[in-house]
Structures are given as structure tokens and as C-alpha cells.
């Protein structure tokens, strides 16, 4: 899965979770950029991403994730490790 493909899947997850049909996230998107992305929505987002990519984040990963790019880094590493 390319980084671009990951972003495209991720956008679908974000659109579901924040119920906004034209929401698009990029490398530098942070919680401050998305309406409704508070700590509670984050819990739900993490679970939805895990489901979509069939993986589990570690606690440290969740805590240290600074922006969407960092989330994609993790997803990319996992995809590579699975090969």
C-alpha cells in the first residue's frame, strides 16, 4: 500500500467518524484542524483506523501521534512489517 493509498483509505475513516462528506486530511493535519476532533472523538478515530487497517496501535504510538502524517508513518511501518 502506497502512502497515497493509505491517505485515501484514511480519508474515508475520517469522513465517517466526523460525519463530513468532503473532509480531507494531509500530512500536517492535526486535531485543531478538524471540527469535533477532541480527545473523545480521538478514541473512536483510533479504533476505526485500527479496524480499517486491521492492526492495533500500541499505547505509546497513540500517545505520541502528533499529526495525521505521524499516523500514516505508523500504518506504513506496519504494512511493511506484515510483508
Amino acid at each position: 500500500m502506497t502512502r497515497q493509498e493509505i491517505f485515501s483509505s484514511l480519508n474515508e475513516v475520517f469522513r465517517d467518524v466526523f460525519d463530513e462528506e468532503d473532509l480531507t486530511v494531509d500530512e500536517t493535519t492535526t486535531a485543531a484542524d478538524v471540527e469535533g476532533w477532541d480527545s473523545f472523538a480521538h478514541v473512536n478515530l483510533v479504533l476505526s483506523v485500527e479496524r480499517r487497517f486491521n492492526m492495533k496501535f500500541t499505547m505509546v504510538e497513540v500517545t505520541d501521534m502528533k499529526n495525521v502524517g505521524a499516523m500514516v508513518d505508523i500504518l506504513e511501518r506496519r504494512a511493511a512489517a506484515d510483508k
Binding site: V17, D19, M59, V62
Partner: protein, 599 residues
Amino acid sequence: MSHDLLKIPFDPHKILAKRKSIKKQLLENLPSSFLEKRIALLGGSTTRDIMEILELFLLNYGIKPAFYESEYGQYWQDVMFDAPSLVSFAPDIAVVHTSNRNITRYPEPDDDSAKIDESLNAEAQKFRMFWDKLRSGYGCSIIQNNFEYPFYRLMGNKEASDIHGRVNFITRLNMKFYEYAQQCGNFYINDINYISSSYGLEQWADPFYWYMYKYSLCLPAIPLLAHNISNIVKSIYGKNKKVLTLDLDNTLWGGVVGDDGVNGIAVGQETSEGQAYREFQEYIKAHLKLGVLLTVNSKNDRENALSGLNHPDGALRPEDFAVIKANWEPKSLNIMETAAELSLLPESFVFADDNPAERAIVEDQAPGVAVPVMEKPERYIQTLDKFGFFEVTNLSQDDLRRGTMYKENAERATLMASFENYRDYLLSLEMKAEIRAFEPVYMSRIAQLTNKSNQFNLTTKRYTQGEIEAAAQDDRFVTLYGKLEDKFGDNGVVSVVIGRIDERVLHVELWLMSCRVLKRDMEYAMMDTLVKRCRSLKGVTGVTKILGYYYKSAKNAMVKDFYDRMEFTKQSEDTDGNAVWILDIDNYKTKNTVVEVID
């Protein structure tokens, strides 16, 4: 009506991910008769997602909640120290979401049994004080989690039986909770001990969610938890289903009785298939004792249907069914007719049928009827059971007798046919009514009626048991319950009236009657007694006029002209059809001539 993503068996991940769009759709399709309830969600751990998902399941039942959410872990302090925002919120229901993470005194391995008992009592006492405070200070219903088992076992299996074990301690503490539930009305256990087992404790207690977000259960288990709570709430407010209407061939037995003959169908101990159907029949039959009505809805000749129901190895018998529709009519039509015969609404029905085509027709043509997907006979019981259609919150004597009552009604119908004059029929019933101010023994039945009656209900005002008890003790209220008995049997409490006195006028805030006693002149007997009671009031509570209110709902058209029949004068009516009626009690003429009244 109900949302597809919330239908059992639901996918919890879809619910969690799409909650926002689900909520929008539910709000757009909310029935006009929805209830509004104030729910205080008092948590010993994080509750945000529980609140959001609970809201969906309640909306799905036609209940629109307003929430109070305690600050993280503040469930006990909020109540005991009267948090001002909680006091002003004035909840109808407190949902107490505690878990074994909230137990502070576990036994130590070197404690003696006296010390452990002390810890146990201290834990139980902490909660009892809290519940007592909720009951006396807020008068709300309480839904309280019991405790789930711990996610590890220090001593292994010994944890269960040894008093030092946490498993043992939690089991004993849960028993203390149940004692309180048995002694106090309006207090309901949310059995997370059972649902966490059913879900899988290993996943339920995934510590990731505790360390990360202080959730006492994993996020994907929240829809199950919320559904479980919503079932208790809808049951409290009378939104349980009342009737289970059943197909026969391949639903109550294996095979087709019309083709295979009674000896060819599978039910009984002979085969695996027969055993599955036999146990399902036993499960269905057990519902009778909870007051659930059973009816048959089958494409069959009546004779074949009856022969199948008389199979010697079956558990059900033809007389277990209040109505048997075995014909070749559309099943949706049969349900509509059955509903009319039982004076119930189609939304009180659950339709169980193995045939997807029949289920689709009923879903399409009989809106409001619940249609579970019945696929494998060996899973029928679980399929039905998980819905919580008949969730029991109050098991009144009345519920236990309901099946019998409908049979007595059938006998009355036969008798009625033998009279030419309706009044002669009524006289022949030898009716006796007890009409009195609310009495303690009937409080739970009265509260139940205020929440369940929709059709013969002038204002559709809902009351909690606490409010009913308060009105009974308040001089400014006139309360009446009516209990009707005749030569065929006792119908129990069937009518409830609450009036509030204000400056010599009695405002009738509630007037309802159970549809099981329609056209028996019971309402006239009630009005006679109400007027008599008003005339007897003296001094500051004296009453000269009665104001009756009709608030139009989706279901109460049958009482639109009620006050006209009672010879009230219409004072005003708005464009929605809500009307106010007035009666000068000096002008009232006694109306009942057929019911003997004891007051």
C-alpha cells in the same frame, strides 16, 4: 422506524464509527409520540461514548434523552454532595456506571473472615447510602451496574470459592446489590456481569482502554452495554413488546405439517432437529408466565395447524395462544386483525418466522412490528432473547394474569353475543369496582399504567413511581385508582386519575383507562366518584369546577370526545386539536348504572 444498523445482531464497529449519521437519521424519523427523559449518567470511569451510543439506542425506542454526565469518576460525590448542576438537572433516571475498578477495599491474603466481612459491608454501605440519597433527594429511577469479574485471577480457580479471592468478593458484593434491588422499587440492576461474560471478559476488560482513556470496558463492547441499558429504560416506560406472533412450519417445528402430516414434523427428543424445536417451544411457552401474549400467524389450514400444535412431544398447546390465525391471508393482514382483536397496536408485536419472504412482507406492510431474523432453529432462542423485547423491570401480579384475562375476555364476548341489549349484557357481568385514592400496594401498577397506556389516555402524561407516591401524599392532589372485577374474573387496576387543585378548580392532569375494559362504563363510575370526592372537599381545598384536558397524541383519538360524553363544556381548542373542557360540579348528574362501586 428502527434503524438498520442498530438491529440485533448489530456490528458494534459500524455503530461507533457512524454514530453521527445514525443520530441524524433517528432524529429525523422520531415518531411524534416520542418520550423525553432526563438521564443522569453517573460514572466511576469514562462515560462519553457510553452516553453517545446510549442516546442512539434510546432514540431508536422513541425516547429522546437529555443527559447529565458527571465529571470523570465523580458519580458518588455528585450525588452525596448535591452538585448544583445535578440538582437543577432533576433526572428521571440515574444510570450508575461503576465497575470493579471502583472497588476500593479488596480482601488481603492475610485478612481473617471478620475483616473481609467488614470490607464487604463497607463497600456495600458506600453504595447503599448513595442509592438512598438518590431515592430520597431526587426521586428518580436508578439503573445500577453490578460488577464484572476481574480480568486476572491471582490464585487461579481458588479465587471463586475462597473468601480471599476477588472473584469470591465480587460475587458476594453483587449479592448485596441484589438484596437492595429486591427490597427497593424503582431500582434496576444493569447486569454487566452477565453481558461481559457473554461478550467475552478477555476482550471486554482489554486494559488498553483503561490505561489510555480510563474506560472500564473496551470501546467495541459499548454498543452492547448501551443496548442493555436502553432495554431497561424502555421497559420502565412501558415500551416493551406485548405479543409474540409465531409462524408454525419450520418455526415451531421442523417440516411442513400440511405436507408431512403430524407424524412427519420434527419436535421432541427423537432427533437433534426435534430437540431444538422442542426447547424453542418451551422457551416460547415460558413467556406466558411473564404476561406475554402468544398468537399464531401461519399459512396453513386451521385443522392442520391445530394438529401440529397438538403434537404429543410439543410443549405448546392450542390453548396457549390468545389468537390463532391459520389461513392463506397475507401475514401482515393477520397481524393487523390480531392487533384489533386484542385492542393493541401493531408496534406491540414481535413476528417470528423462518421465511425471509414473509418477514419482508410484514416489515414492509405492518410498520412498527419487530421482525427478528430467524435463521437456524438451534439459534432461535438466542436470536429472540438478545433483543430484550420483553425485558422485565416490574413483575406485577397483573402481568402474571394477563394471559388468563384475555381468555376471560373471550368468554365475555361469547356472553355478549347472547344478549340483544348491551346494557343487559353489562348487568349480567355483575361488575364490581373499587375506586379509591392511591394505596401503597398499587403504586407500581399505577406508575406502570401511566407509562404504558396510550389509547384511552387524555393527557399521556408519564409518571415515575416516586411522583405517584408524592401525589398520593399531597393534599393539593386528588388521586383515584379503579379496580374492576366481574363474574369472569378480576381485571386488577385498570383506571387512574390524578387531579391538581388550584383555586377551587380541579385540573385533571391524568385520566387513563386500560383498553382491556373498554365499553364497560367504568369511565362513568370513575367520573361519578371523582365528582363525589370533589363535592366532599371543604375549606381551602374545596372544588367547584373541574377542568379536563385533551392533549392529542398519535394514539389517543378514541378519547377525543371523552369530556363531551361526560357532559363537560368545551372551553377552548387549538389548531392541533388540543382542547380544554369545563364542568361545574353542581350540574353533574350521576352516570354509571351498571357497576357496583366500593369507595
